[in-house]
Symmetry: C2
Subunit: 116 residues, 2 copies
């Protein structure tokens, strides 16, 4: 994935950036693989980020100045830690509130109750 177990992978489109930003906001400095694990855990195995989605998305956010990186050698293995820049932090906030607007709007159209 960013796929799977969720029956409608299409629904997930557009949420990846929001998830990356918010998870980094909540958990601080993290490396790619760690983010994937955290998301898997938080989603109760429902959201499995694949490398093909994850890494390009992180690179893009970095290129846009929303994330900053720090590469660390763990023994002989490379780890690239990502954290939010100040712009990243404010975008995280914005994206989450957009997501809440989005589900409220769709909820109205679908006429469903959105209670936790």
């Amino acid at each position: 994935m960013y796929k799977s177990i969720m029956h409608s992978p299409e629904l997930l489109k557009g949420t990846l950036q929001t998830i990356l930003l918010k998870v980094l906001k909540d958990h601080g400095k993290m490396y790619g693989y760690e983010i994937a694990q955290r998301v898997k855990e938080l989603s109760d195995e429902r959201l499995l980020l694949t490398e093909g989605a994850l890494y390009p998305a992180l690179h893009k956010l970095e290129a846009e100045g929303l994330l900053k990186t720090e590469t660390v050698m763990m023994g002989k293995r490379v780890r690239k830690y990502y954290s939010l820049t100040s712009e990243g932090r404010s975008l995280a906030k914005e994206r989450v509130s957009e997501f809440l607007d989005f589900i409220k709007t769709i909820g109205n159209v679908l006429q469903v109750e959105l209670s936790g």
Copy 2:
């Protein structure tokens, strides 16, 4: 659109089918333009379905046997009414529950409250 005013049009991807099925389930036999108007109204102007998204989506659902059609001449103008088949009805139900699962899962990952 299926776009616009909503700041993150990306989020909308994958919800169009669900919306079409559920709106048809709730409002019965409708034609394309009418569906677009209804969605606009239900979303308080936030979801504006464009023809380029709407008609191909309806055609696809029809081709898959989820919708049936009835073409009517209104004076000299054509109107194509769509309604759910029984498979369409059951898919509508499934899609809505998938959507609820989806927002619950994403809500957990984003650690947000989803109260109506």
